[in-house]
Symmetry: C2
Subunit: 354 residues, 2 copies
Amino acid sequence: MQATEPSDLAMVPFVSVDNMMRLVNRIGLPEMLVGLAGYIEDDFRRWQLFDKTPRVAAHSKDGVIELMPTSDGESYGFKYVNGHPKNTREGRQTVTAFGLLADVSNGYPLLLTEMTLLTALRTAATSALVAKYLAPEGADTMAMIGNGAQSEFQALAMQAICGVTRLRLYDIDPKATEKAMRNLSDQGFDLTACTSAEQAIEGAQIITTCTADKQYATILTDNMVGAGVHINAIGGDCPGKTELHPDILRRADVFVEYPPQTRIEGEIQQMPEDFPVTEFWQVVTGVAKGRREPRQITLFDGVGFATEDFSALRYIRDQLQGTGLFQPLDMLADPDDPRDLFGMLRRSQVDAVA
Amino acid sequence: MQATEPSDLAMVPFVSVDNMMRLVNRIGLPEMLVGLAGYIEDDFRRWQLFDKTPRVAAHSKDGVIELMPTSDGESYGFKYVNGHPKNTREGRQTVTAFGLLADVSNGYPLLLTEMTLLTALRTAATSALVAKYLAPEGADTMAMIGNGAQSEFQALAMQAICGVTRLRLYDIDPKATEKAMRNLSDQGFDLTACTSAEQAIEGAQIITTCTADKQYATILTDNMVGAGVHINAIGGDCPGKTELHPDILRRADVFVEYPPQTRIEGEIQQMPEDFPVTEFWQVVTGVAKGRREPRQITLFDGVGFATEDFSALRYIRDQLQGTGLFQPLDMLADPDDPRDLFGMLRRSQVDAVA
């Protein structure tokens, strides 16, 4: 073997955006959302096993870049993700991401993948999984406030996992609502475009807020929210970025992924440090109650947690087998003798000259 | 443009191991070590500008996986790196790494690169840069204890940057020493293979320790170390892994990269929390004195810090221009309308069918 021909040990499968789209289209979007929700649920069930840490964030005036690592002791995963609300003005995504799965026993990467699309999918799958546990019985109508890049995935996950059939869409930018209406027109929903948040939440048992401005916004005020709804608040996900009036939080039972992170990034950053919350893994494992009665307001203060990305990485790795939808990437140095990195470099020089 | 043809915005240049070797061979290894040391020195000089945090480590019984992020406010960089001493028994590297440079203003990645080779180079460049400031005048002999994957790079950096001409090599495994002797035989050194650490340090003004076992080891004891030497201790770099007897640390003036990290990972993890150290950036900027007198023992307790990887990423980005030594990687979703991720996915489906 020549030094310039890396062995299998040195190759990492990489899933490009193009291959991720092929994989989604091959599996089917609703099937994939259901599959992802299953992996995410499994990992919430074995929550105590995970190495958990709030994400490592680098904030700047324009946005944030974050690393989200976790491990279950066998595999290690992390995601790189940015959030830059101004990006859309330059034709860029607000959020882009990629992620890596590695083997804890030797530290070698197992999978590198785009996660911009995958993050939208896992976020939608998580929202719908939580709503499956918390939304009132028979909920079939969702208000979707914020009709950006995540909205269609949220809608389709709620359809596939919770049986939502009616959608009421609102965005401060009517063009975003038009786009979502167009995209969802043939997906089996009864669709209504609304001109205000108030109108959107009429008759909705599930209210999803997913807006992007990095500021303390008030998408919903207390008097707008009736009894017996489930609020899926996923837009407020970094310090200084919230969507709900604090009074709603006081009336609701609030469910979170990982309190140390949510208290920094979620809606509850507006509340005192000891504001009571229930951890979602406790609901999944039966340690805590989810919805207790029909008139209760349940609120998922979702910020996205590293275990959900880990579940998504596991899912992709398992689905990838036999599809060929990846490129082997020569990412790891692989000398014949692992202690001879220098020899590998010198032999590559000889190869190049020969 | 079809949805399946990503635009330039969506492409990230990727430097494979093969391309990194070509780049090193094109620039020349000594020239590259000097170039890297220059970038590292520049970044130590503007130390106060950086967002600094101890690396985020996931420890397991076999090793560690770490993320090392930093930012200078304009660019953001991080490295993924593992350390698994047992790996060599399975034909794998103890340390493998890759890294990413991104634009702080929009969060988009600018460069993805292998860093297994690059880490060995930046570690050697850092060691030699520090020795340039701290080693005694006229130092031309180095003892190299530990003759693994890093040793040749350490030797060549000390040659190119500090004028070291004599090398005394020792490893507990004679095969490692043989390998290093062979690799360095035509590199302009006066080489001596030694059978003990005691023998290796005879007449050496610079002592480099770079051994890999994850344990409290004592490669050097106090009575072995004479006056007036510079110790470059780079093998002790995680909790529970040290190389030097504490008495040496008490006799020496200890220089470190970033105290909050070194107190956890370096030789000084054996010492009390208030053990006095000098930060290397203070020596570079002239705020603190380096070597004060010929008989002083200076000790660099090097563990590797994120800014050094950042410097290396900057260097590679700057050198890459016009070489073609990278592949464009379709890593970022890039819909025509950034809010229309779903539309991009649907159009890719149509393209696939058509």
